[in-house]
Amino acid sequence: MATATSAICVKSVTKRYGAVTALEAVSLEVERGEFLTLLGPSGSGKTTLLRVIAGLEQPDEGRVYLGGEDVTDVPPYRRRVHTVFQQYVLFPHLNVYRNVAFGLEQKRLSRREIERRVAAALELVRLSGYERRWPHELSGGEQQRVALARALVLEPEALLLDEPLAALDLQLRKEMQRELKRLQREVGISFLLVTHDQEEAMALSDRIAVIADGRLQQIGTPREVYERPETAFVATFLGAANVLEAEILQHENGDALLGLCGRTVRVPLNGRRIEGSRAQVAIRPEKIALRARPLRRTDLVQLEGVIEECLYLGEAMHWRVRVGEHCVTVTEPNRPGSKAEAFRDGQRVFLCWTRESIVVLSR
């Protein structure tokens, strides 16, 4: 069974609060040493899942395994996972040393052993020399590091991180992202991170699990999830996407013939199953090129449209182009000599993209 090798395994966990279903039959596995991110909007149930794994919430249905062992009925204080909470929740009446030593002191270790391990943990998060400081004297980033040290010092099976960077400002957040990645490589244990920040998820994770409305939407490497989103939700939540309605004319041998904006396009299905007469497809705005005249290439999909809006965003240009009944968003990096600079509102343009950049979504 796969559960024996994975650090965390969640099997069809359901959690309800009265009439509200926070988690609906969620199954998830975190491999040993893997950095997995639970990505979802607020209220999607991602924090609830983390709390179920930590033992702070009891699931209504389903089982939780840690290192292959069923811990569903084990209280949180006997589970070998530890949490870094969103607001760090350091113990205000204990100094940094005592905060980090807190978990070790339950374990009846010798004083010297505790001292040694606390020192090592503080060095790991680069806070050596902070032992006698009090939590309220620390900056947000430093408190964050203490919270990390406090959990890591116990050498858990896996570290659970509940939006640990959300309270930090942008600059510090970027820095702490690198720090988290470094830490995870250094200690080699599994990290399960909860975030609503898709960029953070992309930058840190080995795999991303997208969650919405208490259901797992898709799980895969950042590249898989970004390039081949399964649902319209995943496509639009992770980066931007144009989701267009298409008519299914024919499908066979992993290819489909779609009617899209008045054109007939052959698209690879990549294992997606479609049925019925209509489907949704997603195209990333940066995979579309804008041209004043159509290109003489048959391998491209080319549609004619009218520019409705031009937005200058500094690093990129952003257009909204009306194509028949659809409004398509196109972005292009702001490179010198880009032809796109000349486009104006109301101008007729051609949208070009490759067939491979069309992703057929399953409903």
Binding site: Y77, H82, T83, V89, N95, A151
Partner: protein, 282 residues
């Protein structure tokens, strides 16, 4: 600027006047009188000296101070022991929608007159009282227990009962402020319920505990109504002794004993504020 500062004094005037007339003036009078002398037929002779204080150092008085201190300490300890679980339950365990109701219920008895409640205890504890009757009927005892009323036991019971809300309320406020997430974090880090209590909840509610101790101990130490009504002939406490001095028209001696009591309490308050402030700084 001048206008506002004049206004400020005007606003403060009523309370300042009140404090002056009804607090500092009587207190000053007591202090002055404590150095005076008792007249041969009662009354005060305004010759000043330390004789009252010398007399107050008599082992008999010191013993009464000690007894009062001990009774107040037992009262305070019992109040703390009873109130902490109650406040803990209301603040952290009870359904939020019942919190206020439970809190009101726990202090509801104290809306009736203090004297009435003390008399109720007399009916409960006397030889033919409720407690003895019940115990006899249940066959727990063969003869009524005589020391239930007019004893130190009765004083402590009455005091604990009377001071309970002054312990429950500050403890409730302190417990209510304990961040549940800290308890979760502790549990997540391997602390079981007992360890969470001793290592997180108790230290974080220390200011509330100290406030409760001060609020209960100080009035218990100087109390005289409860000991007077429930205490026996032999159970003298400093409150009743001071009262007797005034009744027997030895106001200077009563004043001196009062001043000493105030000094002891003041010292205790200083210690309490020290302890709280130290924690606050850390």
């Amino acid at each position: 600027m001048r206008g506002t500062s004049a206004n400020r004094w005007l606003l403060l005037a009523p309370s300042l006047l009140w404090m002056l007339l009804f607090f500092f003036l009587p207190l000053g009078l007591i202090v002055v009188m404590s150095f005076a002398e008792r007249g041969p037929y009662g009354g005060v002779r305004w010759t000043f000296g330390l004789w009252n204080y010398r007399q107050a150092m008599d082992p008999l008085y010191l013993w009464v101070y000690g007894r009062s201190f001990a009774l107040a300490a037992v009262t305070t300890a019992l109040c703390l022991g009873i109130s902490y679980p109650v406040a803990y339950y209301i603040a952290l365990r009870a359904d939020p929608k019942w919190k206020n109701l439970l809190l009101v219920l726990s202090i509801l008895p104290f809306w009736t007159s203090f004297l009435l409640r003390t008399y109720a205890w007399i009916f409960m504890l006397r030889v033919e009282g409720f407690v003895n009757t019940m115990l006899l009927a249940l066959g727990v005892i063969e003869r009524p227990i005589s020391w239930l009323l007019y004893s130190d036991f009765a004083i402590v019971i009455g005091q604990v009962y009377g001071e309970l809300p002054f312990m429950i309320l500050p403890l409730y406020v302190a417990l209510e402020r304990v961040d549940v997430r800290l308890m979760e974090a502790a549990m997540d880090l391997g602390a079981n319920r007992r360890q969470v209590f001793w290592r997180i909840v108790l230290p974080l509610t220390r200011p509330g505990i100290i406030t409760g101790i001060v609020l209960v101990f100080i009035p218990s130490f100087g109390a005289f109504i409860t000991p007077d009504l429930l205490g026996g002939a032999k159970s003298a406490v400093i409150g009743t002794v001071i009262q007797n001095q005034f009744v027997q028209r030895n106001q200077p001696m009563g004043s001196a004993l009062s001043v000493l009591l105030i000094l002891v309490m003041f010292a205790l308050l200083l210690i309490a504020s020290r302890v709280t402030r130290q924690r606050g700084r850390r």
